[in-house]
């Protein structure tokens, strides 16, 4: 049931070999990240069985937006769009480090730099991954994988050169969001006809707020872990210079002591840093992803509620028309359409939500198991290191 590849953010992807997508490579050019999207398929709707195209982050956003805006997919949970690549924080840190170069020793500087580079790399990989996961979820979805835009996205070998949103559109989007939330409040009053959806709604709302909080907290926790790792770097550098200094005098125990401790520090720091990044990867990313996914599910519910409201409105309109004896057939038509729409929405929504639940449980399970395993692994590493150090210390 799990994909053969171990994904950090796992989604319950169908093991469908008809459409396989991955991003084997990405290139970072200043602010832009160019992803190479590689597709392998047996579907006849594609011209070739295997192809690669260059895509940018904005292309992904475009794809997501078009999917959301497609009426037919209103009953589906549209996979959340990947977040914008954020290289700012490591870059900023790098900048700060450059400024502070004079204040620290050369060794300290190089260590910090290495660490930052590693962090940068980790961010980069993470970015690639979320984009990949987005596409994979689309490809594994029975309906969305047939989407024309999606296929164009995968196949068109030129630059998509999606027009960037201009200011007006940005504002429009913002406005739309406002309307949507206002509307949400309005249609909240509409009486739910289906218990399943009623339950789902309360559950999702509750869950969303909880997971949002948990995500924030987990992020904070990871950050503190990273801080500690940073402290270890500095400590080890200082200890190192201290032991270098002490080595000039004749007593050697001290020197050895320092040396051991120093190396211990280095190792501890490494492990601590790994703990932090793994925690980040396994836990925070999971929570973050599902936060967005739940948002998508909530959007689905919203669309359904909207349809329900429309249906009720059309009912009222029909009544009114009947009363007046005017345009009855038109109103009837409208009402029928609304009902139909609502029903399809409800049906596919139900399926999607059930799927979502199963997916979530599987993903949580996998990530939690992996995290626990990694934690155990790191702690064991730490322990052997410490034991070695203690033995060395007591041995001499």
């Amino acid at each position: 049931m799990l994909p053969e590849k171990l994904r950090s953010v796992s989604v319950d992807l169908n093991n469908d070999a008809s459409l396989l997508i991955d991003i084997p490579d990405a290139l970072c050019e200043r602010d832009k990240v160019k992803f190479t999207v590689h597709t392998k398929t047996t579907l006849s709707s594609f011209q070739k069985p295997e192809f690669s195209v260059p895509r940018q982050h904005e292309d992904f956003i475009w794809l997501h937006d078009t999917l959301v805006e497609t009426e037919d997919y209103a009953g589906l949970i549209i996979p959340p769009a990947p977040p914008k690549p954020d290289f700012e924080s490591p870059r900023e840190k790098m900048h700060k480090l450059g400024e502070g170069e004079a204040t620290m020793t050369k060794e300290e500087y190089t260590k910090m730099k290495q660490e930052l580079e590693a962090e940068y790399l980790a961010v980069f990989k993470k970015t690639v991954q979320v984009h990949e996961v987005f596409l994979q979820r689309l490809s594994s979805h029975p309906v969305l994988s047939k989407d024309r835009n999606f296929q164009i996205f995968l196949e068109y070998d030129q630059d998509l050169s999606v027009r960037r949103k201009n200011a007006k559109e940005m504002f429009g989007g913002f406005f739309k969001n406002m309307v949507k939330s206002a509307d949400e409040v309005l249609i909240a009053g509409v009486k739910e006809v289906d218990d399943f959806f009623e339950q789902e709604k309360t559950f999702l709302l509750d869950y969303f707020s909880k997971i949002k909080e948990a995500t924030a907290k987990a992020e904070k926790m990871t950050r503190s872990h990273k801080n500690i790792a940073d402290d270890y770097i500095r400590l080890s550098a200082t200890l190192n210079s201290l032991s270098a200094e002490e080595s000039t005098n004749y007593y050697i125990i001290k020197f050895c002591l320092k040396l051991f401790q120093n190396f211990l520090r280095v190792c501890l720091k490494k492990v601590e840093g790994r703990v932090a990044s793994d925690e980040e990867l396994k836990l925070t990313e999971l929570l973050r992803y599902y936060m967005r996914d739940i948002q998508a599910a909530k959007d689905l519910l919203y669309r359904r509620a909207r349809a329900l409201a429309d249906y009720e409105n059309s009912n009222k309109a029909l009544d009114k028309a009947r009363l007046k004896g005017k345009d009855v057939s038109q109103a009837e038509e409208h009402q029928k359409r609304c009902l139909q729409k609502f029903d399809t929405l409800s049906e596919s929504g139900k399926k999607e939500l059930t799927n979502f639940k199963a997916r979530r449980v599987v993903a949580f399970r996998k990530n939690l198991v992996e995290m626990a395993e990694l934690e155990v692994k790191h702690a064991k590493n730490n322990m052997t290191l410490l034991q070695g150090c203690i033995e060395l210390l007591s041995g001499n």
């Binding site: 590849k5 503190s224 939690l368 064991k380 210390l393």
Partner: protein, 667 residues
């Protein structure tokens, strides 16, 4: 990139890891290389002596010789001297006879042994007889005034080794009485080596070096060798530390007294002995004669006049104290007052007086205001620990322990209030001015250092101070971050629990609440870790920053002594010039006065010069002592810290491993 199945470890930390490993290897190798030198430095090279002794029969034989020439006679004579029972004498002679017999039966090393034994028997007899009638009282008389240790009743002095010897003999493969058992086994060529190697490891080393030392009559360079030896002794014998101390000290000192008795009659070497005792105490730091603990900090009074009082308990075996265990209540300023007194008395002599923790107006105000938050509790606990370590350092110092003020501080119920320690008092103001003038004079005095050792040390101390300060700041920030982490973990645990309650899948919900529990425990772990960071690491460093300040202070005192000497010399020069002028001007009436002054100043110059040399010697000794202690202390503390870290990692493993099945149970 995407095809790699495991993404979490990025490639280049791995390569770096390689580096780390490499460099670690280098470190390991370094340490190996250093081992040889460490031999001379380290106080804990137990295996070495044991490895050395059973090498080749030849060396064994020579060991044996040494052993015979120095070891057994002295101890046995002591035995006999102490008990002065005829039985023992018989034993002794039996022993020797049987040995002689054994020698003659074993053909190989017979010649040499015979010689030695021949001379030995004579020597032993002579010495034994000397001991029997005059040796014991003599050594008692010569040793008693020198040290508190010798002040112990003489039964102890001699009874100690006696007990030890008999114990040792029983330990030596269950032989009762060295003589009878040793005799028969001696006939086998391998066995005696064993016996004596064991003995050599345990007893001979100090003796040999001791003789060297006493024969050299307190040549200073010898002291290291000696202390090493004593420590080896104490570590080698497997008995409890307490006993060890008792046996090692008296046996060492008494043997030295017995062996060097003739030498001392001619020229008693008190300096050497004193020094040797000092070093001994420094080395035996682990096994304190006096154990001080500072406990139960308690707030007395209210508002800004409130102060913290601490319970100071002392546990001791020294006879200089009236009781074995006593407790007094002291307030913080009393500790400071003690330091003031001690540094005033001993500072100018070049002693490193251990400094107490600084006054902290901010921290104390917080306590005074009465906020019962964690930071003030933290502050009080830190201070309590610092005070305890400070007092322990004071009583560990052999000279400071003798100080009446220290005794008063530990024993007396009521202590006159130390007023001069208040920051905002007249005395405090005066002190500030003094400090300022000191600083100015320090800057103005340019001493052309004649002693490269001091110059080097000063530089070392200064750079160490700098590094330690930096280290301290870093550890403090580590603590802050660790506390942050603990807080964030707690927060996360809470939200994970919430999430668990919101989750509708039962298994997942349970796993999430389990996760919350795990994180809760981990939070506690982080908190503990922060405490360890603070108390066993940050405080250790803070202590050393203070101590390094004290070391620098002793250097300053030395410079001051030098300055006095230089000033006196300049004065003398001036006086001589006046004399010459007077001579030229032919004024005989004033000439006599000038001559008197010259004599007076000449005396002063010599006096100051001697002072300076004395201070220099003390500083040198003190710095060596400090360094030794620092090394040991550091090692102990760091080992402890690492063990604590290890423990928390083990806990972590336990927690996560317990969580794993829960996570796997999600379905």
């Amino acid at each position: 990139m995407a095809s790699s199945s495991e993404r979490s470890p990025p490639p280049f930390p791995d390569t770096e890891d390689q580096d780390v490993l490499d460099s670690e290897e280098v470190g390991g190798r370094d340490s190996d290389e250093d081992d040889g030198e460490e031999l001379f430095m380290s106080a804990s090279n137990t295996p070495l002596t044991k490895q050395d002794t059973p090498t080749s029969p030849d060396s064994q034989a020579s060991d044996l010789m040494e052993d015979l020439s120095v070891g057994p006679p002295s101890s046995q004579t002591e035995k006999s001297a102490a008990s002065s029972s005829p039985e023992e004498f018989v034993d002794l002679t039996n022993n020797l006879e049987s040995r002689v017999a054994a020698e003659s039966s074993s053909p190989e090393p017979s010649d040499e042994f015979f010689d030695i034994l021949g001379s030995e028997t004579q020597k032993v007899e002579v010495e034994a007889s000397v001991k029997a009638d005059s040796g014991a009282p003599q050594s008692k008389a010569s040793s008693r005034p020198e040290k508190g240790l010798f002040g112990e009743p003489d039964e102890d002095l001699f009874g100690g080794p006696l007990g030890a010897m008999s114990k040792k003999t029983t330990e030596n493969e269950g032989k009762s009485g060295t003589a009878k058992a040793a005799g028969p086994t001696f006939s086998k060529p391998t066995e005696p080596a064993d016996i004596f190697t064991e003995e050599a490891a345990a007893t001979t080393v100090p003796r040999t070096s001791n003789t060297v030392n006493s024969k050299a009559n307190g040549v200073h360079s010898e002291e290291d060798l000696f202390t090493e030896a004593t420590v080896e002794l104490s570590l080698d014998s497997p008995r409890s530390s307490r006993k060890n101390e008792e046996t090692s000290k008296p046996s060492a000192s008494s043997s030295s007294s017995s062996l060097s008795a003739p030498a001392r009659q001619a020229k008693p070497p008190p300096a050497a002995l004193e020094e040797l005792e000092d070093e001994e105490e420094a080395e035996l730091e682990d096994k304190f004669d006096v154990l001080v603990s500072v406990k139960d900090p308690e707030k007395v009074g209210d508002g800004m006049n409130a102060y913290m009082a601490y319970k100071v308990s002392t546990e001791t075996t020294l006879p200089m104290f009236r009781n074995k265990l006593f407790t007094v209540r002291r307030r913080f300023s009393d500790f400071l007052g003690l330091y003031e007194k001690l540094s005033e008395k001993h500072g100018p002599n070049g002693l490193i007086v251990p400094p107490p923790p600084e006054k902290s107006i901010l921290g104390m105000t917080k306590v005074k205001v009465g906020k019962e938050d964690s930071s003030s509790a933290d502050f009080v606990e830190r201070r309590r620990g610092a005070l305890e370590r400070y007092l322990q350092r004071v009583v560990n110092h052999p000279l400071l322990l003798q100080d009446p003020d220290v005794r008063e501080f530990l024993e007396k119920d009521e202590l006159p209030r130390a007023v001069s320690t208040q920051t905002l008092s007249g005395a405090g103001f005066l002190k500030m001015i003094n400090k300022a003038t000191d600083a100015v004079s320090k800057m103005t005095i340019k001493m052309n250092e004649s002693d490269a050792w001091f110059e080097e040390k000063l530089q070392e101390v200064e750079s160490a101070d700098q590094h330690f300060r930096k280290l301290h700041a870093l550890v403090e920030s580590l603590v802050v971050h660790r506390k942050e982490l603990s807080l964030n973990t707690a927060n996360f645990a809470k939200s994970a629990a919430m999430l668990g309650s919101a989750e509708d899948n039962t298994a997942l919900s349970r796993a999430l609440s389990q996760l919350a529990e795990v994180e809760d425990k981990i939070e506690q772990l982080h908190q503990d870790q922060a405490a360890y960071d603070t108390f066993s690491f940050a405080e250790l460093i803070a202590d050393y920053i203070r101590l390094l300040g004290a070391v620098r202070g002793s250097f300053d005192h030395r410079i001051k002594a030098w300055q006095r000497w230089q000033d006196a010399q300049a004065m003398l020069q001036k006086k001589r010039e006046t004399e010459a002028k007077l001579l030229w001007a032919n004024k005989p009436d004033k000439l006599q006065q000038a001559k008197d002054e010259i004599v007076e100043w000449e005396a002063r110059v010599t006096q100051f010069e001697r002072d300076f040399e004395r201070v220099s010697a003390t500083v040198r000794k003190e710095v060596l002592r400090f360094e030794k202690q620092r090394t040991k202390n550091f090692k102990r503390q760091i080992t402890k810290y690492l063990e604590l870290l290890l423990q928390s990692q083990q806990q972590l493993i336990k927690y996560w491993e317990a969580f794993l099945p829960e996570a796997k149970a999600i379905a």
